[in-house]
Structure formats: structure tokens, C-alpha cells
């Protein structure tokens, strides 16, 4: 689908790259947000990833692999963006939660808060694996390919991340209603 645009963009056609970016940018934003849990950081990471992609586009050998290639760049830009921001805001631990889409009421407010806290305690690399596996619905092998890491590493990160999130939900099931009201 993107092949013609990629080929033109590789030849230095900025308009083609702009069109290409607009076909993949929303998905990139969705991924970046879910890794970083902050819309501003995600926006910056996506912009950086697209600029890097433009700059490095001639190194992409197979135009049909543009999006997986871009997603790997995006993951790296997410890591970099988070680390950059961390330098300047070491004391800010809880970033604003932006909620665009809703989950059709599946999640209670408390579930969401517990998951959000647990998610933020994960490493960025663990978050990325979770997002690629469960949000993009990729297989473990595909996640490994897209992130450029071994399958075993994907499985390990996935196991630890999922266990941490499950634990947060299980812990959440134990507190009394009163403690939840206090949080609210």
C-alpha cells in the first residue's frame, strides 16, 4: 500500500513523505501514547520518529516493511523522549492521564488507576512489548522482529509486565470500599 509513496520519498520527494506520514501517523501516536502514557511526550516522540524516518529512509531496503521499520524507530524515540524528559522532571512521578477513547465501561475507575500505576512502574521496554503484543495484536515473533530483540526477551518482558499488571488488579480486589473512596 505504501510502496509507491516510500519509493518516491526515498527519492527525496517531501510531499510523498508527508502523505506517507499522514497514513501512519495516527497509529504511531496511538502506540507512542500507550508506551509513554503522556500525550505531549507521545507527540514529540512521533515527530522525532517521522523525522528520523525521513532522514534514514534510504536505508530501508524493502519498501513493504516501512511501517514495521518505522515502529522500531518509534519505540526507540519513545525511550529517548522519556529519558530526556526524566532529566528535567525527576520529581514528577505521576504524569497527567489523557483519556481519549473509553473502554466501553469494561474498566472501573479503580481498575484504571491501579493499572495505570502499575504500568508506569514498568520499564519502557516492558511497556513497548505489552503495547506491541496486546494493542497491535502482534505475535511474539512479530514483536521481536519489530522491536529488534530476541523472542526470548519478548517473552520474558511480556511475562514480567503481565504479571505486574495482573498483580495490581488482584491487589486492587482486596482493599475495602472505604479505601477506594478515599482515593477518589
Amino acid at each position: 500500500m505504501h510502496r509507491a509513496l516510500v519509493d518516491r520519498a526515498k527519492g527525496g520527494d517531501g510531499e510523498a513523505f508527508d502523505a506517507l506520514a499522514r497514513t501512519v501517523g495516527d497509529r504511531c501516536m496511538a502506540i507512542a501514547y500507550r508506551i509513554l502514557r503522556d500525550a505531549d511526550l507521545a507527540d514529540d516522540a512521533v515527530q522525532a520518529a517521522l523525522i528520523t524516518a525521513w532522514r534514514e529512509l534510504r536505508t530501508l531496503r524493502d519498501p513493504d516493511r516501512f511501517e514495521p521499520w518505522l515502529h522500531r524507530i518509534l519505540a526507540n524515540e519513545c525511550y529517548a523522549e522519556a529519558r530526556r524528559r526524566r532529566r528535567w522532571s525527576v520529581d514528577i512521578r505521576i504524569l497527567p492521564v489523557d483519556r481519549g477513547q473509553d473502554s466501553d465501561g469494561i474498566l472501573s475507575v479503580n481498575d484504571r488507576d491501579q493499572l495505570d500505576r502499575a504500568f508506569r512502574r514498568l520499564t519502557l521496554e516492558q511497556r513497548a512489548v505489552l503495547v506491541f503484543r496486546h494493542y497491535l495484536d502482534l505475535s511474539v515473533v512479530e514483536v521481536a522482529d519489530r522491536l529488534g530483540i530476541p523472542v526470548g526477551t519478548v517473552k520474558s518482558r511480556l511475562h514480567h509486565a503481565t504479571a505486574a499488571l495482573r498483580a495490581s488488579l488482584e491487589a486492587d480486589a482486596r482493599p475495602s470500599t472505604a479505601s477506594r473512596e478515599r482515593l477518589a
Binding site: M29, A30, A42, W54, D111, H134, L165
Partner: protein
């Protein structure tokens, strides 16, 4: 309360939440940025582990992206682009230089791939410099590399020891349009545009604090005068501290870039005035390159004749 809860379902629901649109202003910002950003070709065999040694060599020898080297035929009997087999050089007046090994053949059109010993001609540049030809005599055991199926080779290197650190070597033909202001932090837009003359280019190289250079010296090569200058990756520099572990030095006329193929890599440049424009013959080697190999490389350089 929790009996009917599906933790994995909740995790998926959690991940489904959140924005899914990139703002128009962000697209506009990207567009604005790319309009000011030159595309790079980052040459790196690590990005394509299935590439053959020939393709890998081409990357280093001329530091250009190699896409279609594999499958090229080489002389004699080659049928690559623009050639149907061994053919005389377009410059019958060119005088072959004595070769390091007996090779009473050529000059032939140089095609990408392994080449038997002999004298060859290549036209490595894009327009408007596409008429410039380089005649070069190669010993046995060398390979030529082209940036793409439609281009003639832009560089050569021995199959062994190859082009890369710690003991490899290569030679290429190029033009330079800009220098990296900081070769280690090359992803930052610190490009230094260079003037159109040999002196301006050499002065810019010598003035760049990002690497060590020799004092430019007058030189004649292939029938043309110019300057010779060595550019050296600083001793002790840990390339792992550079962007992507690479030390980028300059951009070429076709927008591609060259970077050192290992620690303490040395670029030796013959910056020649060919009809008013700086045209460069470049070698790349390392402290570990043997003196015998260096002598072979120098013999290849000395064999060069330039056809403007």
C-alpha cells in the same frame, strides 16, 4: 466481585484507551522539518545481514548504499548495465600503469563484483559529473562496488582482508558537498557547507575540530593537480559514544554520507581540481592495515588516470 474479572481483558481494555490521532500541527511540524533536512544514506551492513561480502565491501569502499550488487556480473563477460562484455575504454589514449600482478588485460568497463586483475574504467558520478571517468589498475583478489543497479562502481577493495577494521582498506571516488560539524554527534544538523574549490574544501577539512588532519600538501594524481590531506578518526575515541556507533565525516554529491569503518580509521584524500571542480580519490585504512597491503593500495592509487 472478582470472580468474573478477566485480568487480560482488563489489560487489553486499558491499552485500548487513549488518543489515536496525531494533531495536524504535528504533521505540519514534521513537514517543515523535513523540508530542511537532507536525507542520509547510513551505510551499514549490520542492517542487512544477508548481504554478500561484495555488497558489504561496496558499502565501505565507497560508502554508499548498495542495493543490487549481488547478481551483477563482472568482467570479462559481464552483462551489467551499460556493458555487454569486455569493452575498450572510451579513452583509448589512456596509458595503463604497471600492475602489481601480471594482468595484460583492459582497459575494461568496471562492473560491480569480484574482478580479475586488469585495468578498468568507471564513471562513478551522477550528472553533471557523469562524464568523468577513472581508469584504475587492480591486482588479483579485488572487488568493485556500485551504489545501485543503475550506477557504475564507485569504489574498490581487496576481498581479503576486506574493507573494515582492524586491518582492511578500500579506495573510492567521490565529491563532497558538506562536512559534518560534529562527526560523532552527526544526527544533529551541524552540516558545514563547503565552497566549490579545492582550496575551500581542504581548508574546511583542516579547520574541522571533529577529527585530526595532516597539513594539506600539493599533489598530482591522474594528470590533475590538487591537495592531499589525511583525515583521522581521533585516537582513543570510543565509537560507541557516537550516534549509532558511527563517525560520519561528510556528505557526497548524491546526498549520501561516508563514515569511518572502525576505530582510528584514516581517510586519505587526493582532492583534485578537475575542470574547476574538486574531485576526490579517497582511501580508507586502519592502524592495523599491514604495510604490504598499504603498498598495494598505494599502487592502485598510483595507477589512476582521470578522463574529464
Amino acid at each position: 466481585m472478582t470472580a468474573s474479572r478477566d485480568p487480560d481483558g482488563l489489560i487489553r481494555a486499558f491499552l485500548d484507551e487513549g488518543p489515536t490521532d496525531l494533531a495536524d500541527r504535528s504533521y505540519d511540524a514534521v513537514r517543515s522539518h523535513i523540508d530542511r533536512t537532507r536525507q542520509r544514506v547510513v551505510i551499514g551492513p549490520w542492517r542487512e545481514p544477508r548481504m554478500s561480502n561484495i555488497a558489504r565491501f561496496a558499502i565501505a569502499a565507497a560508502a554508499v548504499l548498495v542495493v543490487a550488487v549481488v547478481g551483477y556480473n563482472f568482467l570479462p563477460g559481464g552483462n551489467g548495465p551499460g556493458a555487454t562484455g569486455p569493452s575498450p575504454s572510451p579513452s583509448p589514449t589512456a596509458t595503463p600503469t604497471p600492475t602489481p600482478t601480471a594482468a595484460p588485460t583492459g582497459p575494461f568497463a568496471l562492473l560491480a563484483g569480484s574482478v580479475p586483475a586488469g585495468t578498468y574504467v568507471t564513471h562513478p558520478f551522477l550528472a553533471p559529473n557523469d562524464s568523468i571517468g577513472f581508469q584504475v589498475t587492480l591486482p588479483a583478489g579485488w572487488e568493485a562496488g556500485a551504489p545501485s543497479a543503475g550506477r557504475e562502481p564507485v569504489g574498490v577493495a581487496p576481498t581479503a582482508p576486506g574493507y573494515a577494521w582492524p586491518d582492511g582498506m578500500s579506495m573510492g571516488f567521490l565529491t563532497i558537498t558538506s562536512l559534518e560539524g560534529d562527526p560523532c554527534d552527526w544526527k544533529e544538523p551541524t552540516d558545514i557547507e563547503v565552497g566549490p574549490t579545492v582550496d575551500e574544501l581542504v581548508m574546511a577539512l583542516a579547520a574541522n575540530p571533529g577529527y585530526e588532519t595532516t597539513v594539506p600538501a600539493d599533489v598530482t594524481l591522474g594528470g590533475f593537480g590538487g591537495k592531499r590531506i589525511d583525515v583521522q578518526v581521533p585516537a582513543g575515541l570510543d565509537l560507541a559514544t557516537c550516534d549509532d556507533g558511527q563517525f560520519h565525516v561528510w556528505a557526497m554529491g548524491d546526498g549520501q554520507t561516508i563514515y569511518a569503518q572502525g576505530p582510528e580509521g584514516r581517510f586519505r584524500l587526493w582532492v583534485l581540481d578537475v575542470q574547476g571542480s574538486p574531485v576526490i580519490v579517497m582511501t580508507h585504512d586502519f592502524p592495523g592495515t599491514s604495510s604490504g597491503d598499504q603498498a598495494e593500495l598505494q599502487a592502485v592509487v598510483d595507477s589512476i588516470q582521470i578522463e574529464p
